[in-house]
Symmetry: C2
Subunit: 308 residues, 2 copies
Protein backbone atom coordinates (compact mmCIF):
# COMPACT_ATOMS: atom_id res chain seq x y z
CA UNK A 1 0.00 0.00 0.00
CA UNK A 2 1.61 3.30 -0.99
CA UNK A 3 1.56 6.45 1.10
CA UNK A 4 -1.42 8.09 -0.58
CA UNK A 5 -3.65 5.03 -0.50
CA UNK A 6 -2.64 4.51 3.13
CA UNK A 7 -3.77 8.05 3.92
CA UNK A 8 -7.00 7.63 1.97
CA UNK A 9 -7.63 4.44 3.89
CA UNK A 10 -7.02 6.18 7.19
CA UNK A 11 -9.34 9.06 6.38
CA UNK A 12 -12.05 6.63 5.24
CA UNK A 13 -11.70 4.46 8.35
CA UNK A 14 -11.78 7.48 10.60
CA UNK A 15 -14.82 8.94 8.90
CA UNK A 16 -16.67 5.64 9.14
CA UNK A 17 -15.67 5.15 12.77
CA UNK A 18 -16.72 8.64 13.75
CA UNK A 19 -20.01 8.24 11.97
CA UNK A 20 -20.60 4.81 13.47
CA UNK A 21 -19.69 5.92 16.98
CA UNK A 22 -21.83 9.01 16.83
CA UNK A 23 -24.74 6.96 15.54
CA UNK A 24 -24.32 4.32 18.26
CA UNK A 25 -23.94 6.87 21.03
CA UNK A 26 -26.92 8.94 19.91
CA UNK A 27 -30.38 7.54 20.47
CA UNK A 28 -31.83 10.76 19.18
CA UNK A 29 -30.43 12.92 16.38
CA UNK A 30 -31.57 15.93 14.42
CA UNK A 31 -34.96 17.10 15.62
CA UNK A 32 -35.87 13.80 17.36
CA UNK A 33 -36.31 13.60 21.11
CA UNK A 34 -34.03 11.44 23.27
CA UNK A 35 -36.02 8.73 25.14
CA UNK A 36 -33.90 9.28 28.28
CA UNK A 37 -33.87 13.07 28.71
CA UNK A 38 -36.88 13.86 26.47
CA UNK A 39 -34.91 16.57 24.70
CA UNK A 40 -33.13 16.87 21.34
CA UNK A 41 -29.79 16.26 23.11
CA UNK A 42 -28.00 14.58 20.21
CA UNK A 43 -27.18 11.63 22.45
CA UNK A 44 -25.01 13.57 24.89
CA UNK A 45 -27.25 13.99 27.92
CA UNK A 46 -26.31 12.66 31.36
CA UNK A 47 -28.90 9.85 31.08
CA UNK A 48 -27.13 8.62 27.95
CA UNK A 49 -23.78 8.83 29.73
CA UNK A 50 -25.13 6.73 32.59
CA UNK A 51 -26.26 4.16 30.03
CA UNK A 52 -22.74 4.05 28.57
CA UNK A 53 -21.20 3.61 32.03
CA UNK A 54 -23.44 0.58 32.57
CA UNK A 55 -22.38 -0.82 29.21
CA UNK A 56 -18.73 -0.36 30.23
CA UNK A 57 -19.25 -2.13 33.54
CA UNK A 58 -20.95 -5.07 31.85
CA UNK A 59 -18.10 -5.32 29.35
CA UNK A 60 -15.45 -5.46 32.08
CA UNK A 61 -17.37 -8.16 33.93
CA UNK A 62 -17.67 -10.14 30.74
CA UNK A 63 -13.92 -9.87 30.11
CA UNK A 64 -12.99 -11.26 33.51
CA UNK A 65 -15.91 -13.41 34.64
CA UNK A 66 -13.97 -15.20 37.39
CA UNK A 67 -12.13 -12.21 38.79
CA UNK A 68 -13.49 -9.86 41.38
CA UNK A 69 -12.58 -6.28 40.54
CA UNK A 70 -10.46 -5.83 43.64
CA UNK A 71 -8.40 -9.01 43.34
CA UNK A 72 -5.80 -7.82 40.89
CA UNK A 73 -5.82 -4.10 41.37
CA UNK A 74 -2.06 -3.75 41.66
CA UNK A 75 -1.50 -5.30 38.25
CA UNK A 76 -3.91 -2.75 36.73
CA UNK A 77 -1.85 0.21 37.90
CA UNK A 78 1.01 2.08 36.23
CA UNK A 79 2.78 3.46 39.31
CA UNK A 80 3.51 6.97 38.09
CA UNK A 81 6.07 9.69 38.82
CA UNK A 82 6.39 12.25 36.05
CA UNK A 83 7.28 15.38 38.02
CA UNK A 84 9.93 17.51 36.36
CA UNK A 85 11.99 17.67 39.55
CA UNK A 86 11.94 13.95 40.41
CA UNK A 87 15.47 12.96 41.42
CA UNK A 88 17.21 9.59 41.05
CA UNK A 89 16.33 8.72 44.66
CA UNK A 90 12.60 9.27 43.95
CA UNK A 91 12.81 6.91 40.99
CA UNK A 92 14.53 4.25 43.08
CA UNK A 93 11.72 4.54 45.65
CA UNK A 94 8.85 4.00 43.22
CA UNK A 95 10.67 1.12 41.54
CA UNK A 96 11.03 -0.61 44.91
CA UNK A 97 7.35 0.04 45.66
CA UNK A 98 6.37 -1.37 42.27
CA UNK A 99 8.31 -4.56 42.93
CA UNK A 100 6.87 -4.88 46.43
CA UNK A 101 3.21 -4.39 45.46
CA UNK A 102 3.30 -5.91 41.98
CA UNK A 103 2.22 -2.89 39.95
CA UNK A 104 1.97 -3.35 36.18
CA UNK A 105 4.72 -0.83 35.56
CA UNK A 106 6.47 2.28 36.74
CA UNK A 107 5.58 5.22 34.52
CA UNK A 108 8.48 7.69 34.48
CA UNK A 109 10.12 10.26 32.23
CA UNK A 110 12.50 9.10 29.45
CA UNK A 111 15.68 10.34 31.12
CA UNK A 112 14.96 7.98 34.04
CA UNK A 113 14.23 4.86 31.95
CA UNK A 114 17.77 3.52 32.02
CA UNK A 115 17.97 3.75 35.83
CA UNK A 116 14.53 2.18 36.35
CA UNK A 117 15.29 -0.55 33.86
CA UNK A 118 18.37 -1.63 35.81
CA UNK A 119 16.51 -1.61 39.14
CA UNK A 120 13.62 -3.66 37.70
CA UNK A 121 15.74 -6.00 35.58
CA UNK A 122 14.81 -9.18 37.45
CA UNK A 123 11.20 -8.37 38.23
CA UNK A 124 7.92 -8.67 36.30
CA UNK A 125 7.34 -4.91 36.64
CA UNK A 126 7.51 -3.17 33.29
CA UNK A 127 9.02 0.21 32.48
CA UNK A 128 6.57 2.64 30.93
CA UNK A 129 7.60 6.07 29.69
CA UNK A 130 6.06 9.08 28.01
CA UNK A 131 6.66 10.66 24.61
CA UNK A 132 5.87 14.18 23.39
CA UNK A 133 4.84 14.76 26.97
CA UNK A 134 2.78 16.49 28.21
CA UNK A 135 1.86 18.92 25.39
CA UNK A 136 1.91 16.53 22.42
CA UNK A 137 2.93 19.47 20.28
CA UNK A 138 6.31 18.37 19.01
CA UNK A 139 7.17 16.89 15.62
CA UNK A 140 6.03 13.36 14.78
CA UNK A 141 9.57 12.29 13.93
CA UNK A 142 10.81 13.68 17.27
CA UNK A 143 8.18 11.60 19.08
CA UNK A 144 9.18 8.48 17.13
CA UNK A 145 12.88 9.09 17.88
CA UNK A 146 12.10 9.61 21.56
CA UNK A 147 10.09 6.36 21.62
CA UNK A 148 12.86 4.37 19.90
CA UNK A 149 15.58 5.74 22.16
CA UNK A 150 13.46 5.06 25.26
CA UNK A 151 12.79 1.48 24.18
CA UNK A 152 16.49 0.95 23.53
CA UNK A 153 17.10 2.20 27.08
CA UNK A 154 14.68 -0.39 28.48
CA UNK A 155 11.09 0.87 28.12
CA UNK A 156 8.37 -1.72 27.43
CA UNK A 157 5.46 0.68 27.08
CA UNK A 158 5.20 4.13 25.50
CA UNK A 159 2.47 6.60 26.45
CA UNK A 160 2.47 9.22 23.70
CA UNK A 161 0.46 12.45 23.61
CA UNK A 162 -1.30 13.03 20.31
CA UNK A 163 -1.08 16.31 18.40
CA UNK A 164 -3.89 18.26 20.07
CA UNK A 165 -3.34 21.29 17.83
CA UNK A 166 -3.85 19.17 14.70
CA UNK A 167 -7.04 17.72 16.19
CA UNK A 168 -8.31 21.21 17.08
CA UNK A 169 -7.55 22.24 13.48
CA UNK A 170 -9.56 19.24 12.18
CA UNK A 171 -6.38 17.96 10.46
CA UNK A 172 -7.00 14.24 11.01
CA UNK A 173 -4.39 13.20 8.45
CA UNK A 174 -1.56 14.88 10.41
CA UNK A 175 -3.11 13.53 13.62
CA UNK A 176 -3.02 9.98 12.25
CA UNK A 177 0.47 10.19 10.75
CA UNK A 178 1.81 11.38 14.10
CA UNK A 179 0.33 8.37 15.92
CA UNK A 180 1.25 5.88 13.20
CA UNK A 181 4.92 6.86 13.31
CA UNK A 182 5.12 6.26 17.07
CA UNK A 183 3.07 3.05 16.94
CA UNK A 184 5.39 1.73 14.25
CA UNK A 185 8.47 2.64 16.32
CA UNK A 186 6.95 0.75 19.26
CA UNK A 187 5.65 -2.36 17.51
CA UNK A 188 8.87 -2.87 15.56
CA UNK A 189 10.63 -3.15 18.93
CA UNK A 190 7.98 -5.25 20.75
CA UNK A 191 6.74 -2.35 22.86
CA UNK A 192 3.13 -1.30 23.24
CA UNK A 193 1.82 2.16 22.51
CA UNK A 194 -0.81 4.07 24.47
CA UNK A 195 -2.22 7.24 22.96
CA UNK A 196 -3.05 10.04 25.41
CA UNK A 197 -5.91 12.10 24.02
CA UNK A 198 -5.94 14.69 26.87
CA UNK A 199 -9.70 14.78 27.27
CA UNK A 200 -9.78 18.04 29.24
CA UNK A 201 -9.08 20.02 26.07
CA UNK A 202 -11.58 18.19 23.85
CA UNK A 203 -15.24 18.27 22.97
CA UNK A 204 -17.04 14.94 22.93
CA UNK A 205 -16.85 14.88 19.15
CA UNK A 206 -13.08 15.49 19.30
CA UNK A 207 -12.71 12.68 21.86
CA UNK A 208 -14.48 10.35 19.46
CA UNK A 209 -12.29 11.47 16.55
CA UNK A 210 -9.15 11.04 18.65
CA UNK A 211 -10.08 7.50 19.72
CA UNK A 212 -11.10 6.53 16.19
CA UNK A 213 -7.85 7.79 14.69
CA UNK A 214 -5.80 6.15 17.46
CA UNK A 215 -7.50 2.81 16.88
CA UNK A 216 -7.13 3.06 13.11
CA UNK A 217 -3.45 3.93 13.59
CA UNK A 218 -2.76 0.75 15.55
CA UNK A 219 -2.69 2.04 19.14
CA UNK A 220 -2.81 -0.63 21.85
CA UNK A 221 -4.49 1.70 24.33
CA UNK A 222 -6.19 5.07 24.42
CA UNK A 223 -5.52 7.04 27.59
CA UNK A 224 -7.49 9.91 29.05
CA UNK A 225 -4.98 12.43 30.45
CA UNK A 226 -1.40 13.47 31.11
CA UNK A 227 -2.07 14.70 34.63
CA UNK A 228 -0.58 18.06 33.56
CA UNK A 229 -3.63 19.40 31.70
CA UNK A 230 -6.58 21.34 33.10
CA UNK A 231 -8.41 18.16 34.13
CA UNK A 232 -8.01 14.41 34.65
CA UNK A 233 -9.96 11.24 34.02
CA UNK A 234 -13.74 11.03 34.39
CA UNK A 235 -16.00 7.98 34.34
CA UNK A 236 -17.99 9.64 31.58
CA UNK A 237 -14.94 10.00 29.33
CA UNK A 238 -13.73 6.47 30.01
CA UNK A 239 -17.15 5.11 29.02
CA UNK A 240 -17.21 7.21 25.87
CA UNK A 241 -13.69 6.11 24.89
CA UNK A 242 -14.58 2.45 25.53
CA UNK A 243 -17.68 2.77 23.38
CA UNK A 244 -15.54 4.08 20.48
CA UNK A 245 -12.60 1.62 20.60
CA UNK A 246 -14.58 -1.53 21.41
CA UNK A 247 -13.05 -4.52 23.19
CA UNK A 248 -9.80 -4.99 21.31
CA UNK A 249 -8.09 -1.77 22.42
CA UNK A 250 -7.27 -0.93 26.04
CA UNK A 251 -8.46 2.16 27.88
CA UNK A 252 -6.16 3.73 30.45
CA UNK A 253 -7.65 6.20 32.94
CA UNK A 254 -5.18 8.64 34.48
CA UNK A 255 -5.07 12.04 36.10
CA UNK A 256 -6.56 12.71 39.52
CA UNK A 257 -7.16 9.07 40.49
CA UNK A 258 -6.21 9.29 44.12
CA UNK A 259 -8.51 6.85 45.94
CA UNK A 260 -10.01 3.39 45.75
CA UNK A 261 -13.54 4.63 45.07
CA UNK A 262 -12.51 6.59 41.99
CA UNK A 263 -10.42 3.70 40.70
CA UNK A 264 -13.45 1.42 40.95
CA UNK A 265 -15.57 3.93 39.01
CA UNK A 266 -12.98 3.99 36.26
CA UNK A 267 -12.85 0.20 35.95
CA UNK A 268 -16.64 -0.03 36.02
CA UNK A 269 -16.73 2.47 33.17
CA UNK A 270 -14.39 0.43 31.00
CA UNK A 271 -10.82 1.23 32.07
CA UNK A 272 -8.37 -1.65 31.77
CA UNK A 273 -5.33 0.21 33.07
CA UNK A 274 -4.98 2.96 35.67
CA UNK A 275 -2.28 5.61 35.93
CA UNK A 276 -1.77 6.86 39.47
CA UNK A 277 0.86 8.28 41.77
CA UNK A 278 -1.18 7.51 44.91
CA UNK A 279 -1.04 3.81 44.05
CA UNK A 280 0.18 2.55 47.43
CA UNK A 281 -2.51 4.55 49.26
CA UNK A 282 -5.17 3.19 46.89
CA UNK A 283 -4.09 -0.39 47.55
CA UNK A 284 -4.16 0.18 51.29
CA UNK A 285 -7.67 1.66 51.07
CA UNK A 286 -8.85 -1.25 48.97
CA UNK A 287 -7.42 -3.71 51.45
CA UNK A 288 -9.05 -2.00 54.42
CA UNK A 289 -12.42 -1.70 52.68
CA UNK A 290 -12.74 -5.27 51.43
CA UNK A 291 -11.92 -8.81 52.40
CA UNK A 292 -9.74 -9.17 49.35
CA UNK A 293 -6.33 -10.77 49.26
CA UNK A 294 -4.53 -7.66 48.00
CA UNK A 295 -2.02 -7.17 46.59
CA UNK A 296 -2.34 -9.98 44.08
CA UNK A 297 0.64 -12.36 44.09
CA UNK A 298 3.16 -11.42 41.43
CA UNK A 299 3.68 -14.27 39.00
CA UNK A 300 6.70 -15.07 36.88
CA UNK A 301 5.36 -13.52 33.72
CA UNK A 302 4.65 -9.87 33.01
CA UNK A 303 1.12 -9.18 34.12
CA UNK A 304 0.39 -5.75 32.74
CA UNK A 305 -0.65 -6.83 29.27
CA UNK A 306 -3.39 -9.16 30.44
CA UNK A 307 -5.93 -6.40 30.66
CA UNK A 308 -6.37 -5.14 27.17
CA UNK B 1 40.09 17.25 23.32
CA UNK B 2 38.81 13.73 24.02
CA UNK B 3 35.57 12.93 25.84
CA UNK B 4 37.13 12.41 29.28
CA UNK B 5 39.22 15.55 29.26
CA UNK B 6 36.20 17.47 27.97
CA UNK B 7 34.17 16.24 30.94
CA UNK B 8 36.97 16.99 33.38
CA UNK B 9 37.19 20.46 31.92
CA UNK B 10 33.44 20.96 32.30
CA UNK B 11 33.41 19.81 35.90
CA UNK B 12 36.39 22.05 36.72
CA UNK B 13 34.85 25.09 35.03
CA UNK B 14 31.55 24.50 36.76
CA UNK B 15 33.14 24.07 40.15
CA UNK B 16 35.16 27.25 39.71
CA UNK B 17 32.14 29.20 38.45
CA UNK B 18 29.94 28.05 41.32
CA UNK B 19 32.64 28.88 43.83
CA UNK B 20 33.30 32.27 42.25
CA UNK B 21 29.59 33.16 42.00
CA UNK B 22 28.85 32.13 45.56
CA UNK B 23 31.82 34.15 46.77
CA UNK B 24 30.82 37.23 44.78
CA UNK B 25 27.17 37.01 45.79
CA UNK B 26 27.89 36.44 49.45
CA UNK B 27 29.13 39.38 51.49
CA UNK B 28 29.01 37.20 54.56
CA UNK B 29 29.70 33.48 54.75
CA UNK B 30 30.11 30.93 57.48
CA UNK B 31 29.63 32.53 60.85
CA UNK B 32 30.16 36.10 59.59
CA UNK B 33 27.43 38.72 59.70
CA UNK B 34 26.08 40.31 56.49
CA UNK B 35 26.58 44.11 56.46
CA UNK B 36 23.10 44.60 54.92
CA UNK B 37 20.83 42.42 57.05
CA UNK B 38 23.18 42.04 60.05
CA UNK B 39 22.60 38.29 60.12
CA UNK B 40 24.57 35.24 58.98
CA UNK B 41 22.45 35.05 55.81
CA UNK B 42 25.09 33.57 53.53
CA UNK B 43 24.56 36.40 51.07
CA UNK B 44 20.93 35.55 50.28
CA UNK B 45 18.97 38.16 52.21
CA UNK B 46 16.57 40.58 50.55
CA UNK B 47 18.99 43.48 51.04
CA UNK B 48 21.59 41.58 49.04
CA UNK B 49 19.02 40.83 46.34
CA UNK B 50 18.19 44.54 46.09
CA UNK B 51 21.88 45.26 45.63
CA UNK B 52 22.01 42.73 42.76
CA UNK B 53 18.95 44.26 41.11
CA UNK B 54 20.70 47.63 41.14
CA UNK B 55 23.78 46.05 39.59
CA UNK B 56 21.59 44.55 36.86
CA UNK B 57 19.94 47.89 36.12
CA UNK B 58 23.31 49.60 35.86
CA UNK B 59 24.55 46.90 33.49
CA UNK B 60 21.58 47.32 31.15
CA UNK B 61 22.01 51.08 31.09
CA UNK B 62 25.70 50.62 30.31
CA UNK B 63 24.89 48.27 27.43
CA UNK B 64 22.49 50.72 25.76
CA UNK B 65 23.53 54.20 26.86
CA UNK B 66 21.59 55.99 24.13
CA UNK B 67 18.42 53.96 24.27
CA UNK B 68 15.55 54.57 26.63
CA UNK B 69 14.22 51.29 28.01
CA UNK B 70 10.82 51.71 26.39
CA UNK B 71 12.04 52.54 22.87
CA UNK B 72 12.68 49.05 21.61
CA UNK B 73 10.43 46.96 23.77
CA UNK B 74 8.88 45.03 20.91
CA UNK B 75 12.24 43.75 19.72
CA UNK B 76 12.95 42.43 23.23
CA UNK B 77 9.88 40.19 23.25
CA UNK B 78 9.42 36.60 22.14
CA UNK B 79 5.69 36.62 21.37
CA UNK B 80 4.70 33.31 22.88
CA UNK B 81 1.96 30.72 22.37
CA UNK B 82 2.84 27.31 23.75
CA UNK B 83 -0.59 26.02 24.77
CA UNK B 84 -1.15 22.36 23.95
CA UNK B 85 -4.44 23.12 22.23
CA UNK B 86 -3.28 26.01 20.04
CA UNK B 87 -4.71 25.48 16.55
CA UNK B 88 -3.27 26.55 13.20
CA UNK B 89 -5.47 29.65 13.23
CA UNK B 90 -4.03 30.74 16.58
CA UNK B 91 -0.50 30.41 15.19
CA UNK B 92 -1.42 32.49 12.14
CA UNK B 93 -2.78 35.20 14.45
CA UNK B 94 0.36 35.55 16.58
CA UNK B 95 2.59 35.51 13.48
CA UNK B 96 0.62 38.40 12.02
CA UNK B 97 0.84 40.26 15.35
CA UNK B 98 4.59 39.67 15.47
CA UNK B 99 5.02 41.14 12.00
CA UNK B 100 2.80 44.10 12.81
CA UNK B 101 4.46 45.03 16.10
CA UNK B 102 8.02 43.93 15.32
CA UNK B 103 8.50 41.35 18.05
CA UNK B 104 11.87 39.57 18.17
CA UNK B 105 10.25 36.22 17.45
CA UNK B 106 7.22 34.04 17.81
CA UNK B 107 7.82 31.30 20.37
CA UNK B 108 5.72 28.26 19.48
CA UNK B 109 5.74 24.48 19.75
CA UNK B 110 7.84 22.42 17.28
CA UNK B 111 4.87 21.01 15.36
CA UNK B 112 3.91 24.59 14.41
CA UNK B 113 7.39 25.72 13.26
CA UNK B 114 6.89 24.84 9.62
CA UNK B 115 3.62 26.82 9.41
CA UNK B 116 5.06 29.86 11.23
CA UNK B 117 8.20 29.77 9.15
CA UNK B 118 6.19 30.05 5.93
CA UNK B 119 4.07 32.92 7.29
CA UNK B 120 7.16 34.82 8.50
CA UNK B 121 9.39 34.04 5.50
CA UNK B 122 9.71 37.63 4.30
CA UNK B 123 9.82 39.36 7.66
CA UNK B 124 12.57 40.03 10.21
CA UNK B 125 10.61 38.14 12.89
CA UNK B 126 12.39 34.99 13.93
CA UNK B 127 10.89 31.60 14.74
CA UNK B 128 11.70 30.36 18.22
CA UNK B 129 10.67 26.93 19.45
CA UNK B 130 11.03 24.78 22.56
CA UNK B 131 12.79 21.49 23.16
CA UNK B 132 12.27 18.92 25.91
CA UNK B 133 9.43 21.16 26.91
CA UNK B 134 8.19 21.79 29.54
CA UNK B 135 9.55 19.05 31.82
CA UNK B 136 13.13 18.82 30.54
CA UNK B 137 13.07 15.18 31.55
CA UNK B 138 13.58 13.44 28.24
CA UNK B 139 16.80 11.97 26.82
CA UNK B 140 19.60 14.32 25.73
CA UNK B 141 19.71 12.71 22.28
CA UNK B 142 15.94 13.19 21.91
CA UNK B 143 16.33 16.89 22.73
CA UNK B 144 19.14 17.24 20.20
CA UNK B 145 17.09 15.45 17.53
CA UNK B 146 14.08 17.67 18.29
CA UNK B 147 16.28 20.77 18.00
CA UNK B 148 17.80 19.64 14.69
CA UNK B 149 14.44 18.75 13.17
CA UNK B 150 12.94 22.06 14.32
CA UNK B 151 15.82 24.06 12.84
CA UNK B 152 15.44 22.17 9.56
CA UNK B 153 11.76 23.13 9.63
CA UNK B 154 12.67 26.81 9.99
CA UNK B 155 13.44 27.60 13.64
CA UNK B 156 16.15 30.20 14.37
CA UNK B 157 16.14 29.91 18.14
CA UNK B 158 15.79 26.92 20.45
CA UNK B 159 14.63 27.25 24.07
CA UNK B 160 15.55 23.96 25.75
CA UNK B 161 14.64 22.84 29.26
CA UNK B 162 17.57 21.42 31.18
CA UNK B 163 17.43 18.11 33.02
CA UNK B 164 15.98 19.22 36.36
CA UNK B 165 16.10 15.70 37.79
CA UNK B 166 19.85 15.48 37.13
CA UNK B 167 20.37 18.87 38.77
CA UNK B 168 18.32 17.79 41.81
CA UNK B 169 20.47 14.65 41.96
CA UNK B 170 23.64 16.80 41.88
CA UNK B 171 24.68 15.04 38.66
CA UNK B 172 26.28 18.03 36.94
CA UNK B 173 28.06 15.90 34.34
CA UNK B 174 24.75 14.57 32.97
CA UNK B 175 23.31 18.08 33.25
CA UNK B 176 26.16 19.51 31.17
CA UNK B 177 26.18 16.75 28.54
CA UNK B 178 22.46 17.28 28.01
CA UNK B 179 22.92 21.01 27.35
CA UNK B 180 26.09 20.56 25.28
CA UNK B 181 24.36 18.16 22.89
CA UNK B 182 21.56 20.64 22.17
CA UNK B 183 23.90 23.65 21.95
CA UNK B 184 26.01 21.75 19.44
CA UNK B 185 22.92 20.85 17.39
CA UNK B 186 21.96 24.54 17.35
CA UNK B 187 25.33 26.14 16.68
CA UNK B 188 26.15 23.72 13.86
CA UNK B 189 23.03 25.00 12.14
CA UNK B 190 23.42 28.72 12.93
CA UNK B 191 20.65 28.73 15.54
CA UNK B 192 20.95 30.08 19.05
CA UNK B 193 20.21 28.09 22.19
CA UNK B 194 18.51 29.34 25.32
CA UNK B 195 18.60 27.13 28.40
CA UNK B 196 15.49 27.20 30.60
CA UNK B 197 16.48 26.49 34.18
CA UNK B 198 12.89 26.51 35.58
CA UNK B 199 13.69 28.56 38.66
CA UNK B 200 10.50 27.68 40.55
CA UNK B 201 11.86 24.20 41.30
CA UNK B 202 15.35 25.32 42.34
CA UNK B 203 17.16 26.57 45.40
CA UNK B 204 19.42 29.58 44.89
CA UNK B 205 22.45 27.31 44.88
CA UNK B 206 20.85 25.13 42.21
CA UNK B 207 20.06 28.25 40.12
CA UNK B 208 23.72 29.22 40.29
CA UNK B 209 24.83 25.71 39.33
CA UNK B 210 22.36 25.64 36.43
CA UNK B 211 23.54 28.97 35.05
CA UNK B 212 27.18 28.06 35.48
CA UNK B 213 26.77 24.76 33.68
CA UNK B 214 24.70 26.40 30.92
CA UNK B 215 27.36 29.04 30.36
CA UNK B 216 30.20 26.49 30.39
CA UNK B 217 28.21 24.38 27.91
CA UNK B 218 27.98 27.21 25.38
CA UNK B 219 24.42 28.46 25.91
CA UNK B 220 23.59 31.82 24.31
CA UNK B 221 20.95 32.62 26.93
CA UNK B 222 19.74 31.37 30.26
CA UNK B 223 15.98 31.62 30.73
CA UNK B 224 13.98 31.62 33.93
CA UNK B 225 10.82 29.59 33.32
CA UNK B 226 8.67 27.52 31.01
CA UNK B 227 5.39 29.12 32.07
CA UNK B 228 4.13 25.61 32.92
CA UNK B 229 5.92 25.18 36.26
CA UNK B 230 4.74 26.23 39.71
CA UNK B 231 6.06 29.78 39.26
CA UNK B 232 7.38 32.28 36.72
CA UNK B 233 10.07 34.91 36.47
CA UNK B 234 11.06 37.15 39.38
CA UNK B 235 13.33 40.18 39.41
CA UNK B 236 15.33 38.50 42.13
CA UNK B 237 16.04 35.44 40.00
CA UNK B 238 16.87 37.50 36.91
CA UNK B 239 19.41 39.48 38.92
CA UNK B 240 20.92 36.32 40.35
CA UNK B 241 21.17 34.71 36.91
CA UNK B 242 22.75 37.85 35.45
CA UNK B 243 25.31 37.94 38.24
CA UNK B 244 26.33 34.35 37.42
CA UNK B 245 26.54 34.51 33.61
CA UNK B 246 28.05 38.00 33.30
CA UNK B 247 27.61 40.20 30.25
CA UNK B 248 28.37 37.77 27.43
CA UNK B 249 25.34 35.50 27.88
CA UNK B 250 21.74 36.68 27.55
CA UNK B 251 19.08 36.37 30.24
CA UNK B 252 15.49 35.73 29.17
CA UNK B 253 12.72 36.34 31.69
CA UNK B 254 9.49 34.47 31.06
CA UNK B 255 6.45 33.17 32.88
CA UNK B 256 3.84 35.50 34.34
CA UNK B 257 5.06 38.69 32.61
CA UNK B 258 1.70 40.20 31.81
CA UNK B 259 2.15 43.97 32.15
CA UNK B 260 4.50 46.82 31.34
CA UNK B 261 5.52 47.39 34.95
CA UNK B 262 6.73 43.82 35.42
CA UNK B 263 8.56 43.87 32.09
CA UNK B 264 10.43 46.99 33.20
CA UNK B 265 11.41 45.30 36.48
CA UNK B 266 12.81 42.37 34.54
CA UNK B 267 14.89 44.54 32.24
CA UNK B 268 16.14 46.63 35.15
CA UNK B 269 17.22 43.40 36.84
CA UNK B 270 19.27 42.28 33.86
CA UNK B 271 16.89 40.59 31.40
CA UNK B 272 17.81 41.05 27.73
CA UNK B 273 14.87 39.11 26.31
CA UNK B 274 11.31 38.68 27.52
CA UNK B 275 8.94 35.80 26.87
CA UNK B 276 5.29 36.82 27.03
CA UNK B 277 1.90 35.95 25.62
CA UNK B 278 0.38 39.29 26.66
CA UNK B 279 2.88 41.09 24.41
CA UNK B 280 0.37 43.26 22.54
CA UNK B 281 -1.26 44.37 25.78
CA UNK B 282 2.16 45.20 27.25
CA UNK B 283 3.06 47.34 24.24
CA UNK B 284 -0.23 49.19 24.45
CA UNK B 285 0.30 49.85 28.16
CA UNK B 286 3.83 51.10 27.51
CA UNK B 287 2.57 53.40 24.79
CA UNK B 288 -0.20 54.82 26.97
CA UNK B 289 2.12 55.32 29.96
CA UNK B 290 4.97 57.05 28.17
CA UNK B 291 5.64 59.51 25.36
CA UNK B 292 7.62 56.88 23.54
CA UNK B 293 7.41 56.11 19.84
CA UNK B 294 6.37 52.48 20.29
CA UNK B 295 6.53 50.08 18.62
CA UNK B 296 10.05 50.60 17.39
CA UNK B 297 10.36 50.59 13.59
CA UNK B 298 11.31 47.18 12.28
CA UNK B 299 14.59 47.34 10.36
CA UNK B 300 15.82 45.16 7.56
CA UNK B 301 17.97 42.94 9.75
CA UNK B 302 16.88 40.54 12.42
CA UNK B 303 16.78 42.48 15.65
CA UNK B 304 16.41 39.82 18.31
CA UNK B 305 20.08 38.99 18.68
CA UNK B 306 21.15 42.55 19.47
CA UNK B 307 20.35 42.17 23.12
CA UNK B 308 22.69 39.53 24.44
Amino acid sequence: MNKDSSLDYLVRVVSEEIHRSLSQGAPARGGEFCPWCAQACGGHCSAEVNRMVEVGANRVSALAPNASIDRSIASLIDHTLLKADAAYEDIRKICEEAKRYGFASVCINPSMVSLASRILANSPVMVCTVVGFPLGATLAEAKAFEAEASIMNGAHEIDMVLNIGALKSKDLVTLGQDIQLVVQACHTREAICKVIIETAYLTDEEKISACSVAKASGADFVKTSTGFGPGGASAKDVALMRSVVGDDVGVKASGGIRDWKVLQEMVQSGATRIGASASVKILQEAKSQSASNLPAPVGEGRTGNDYY
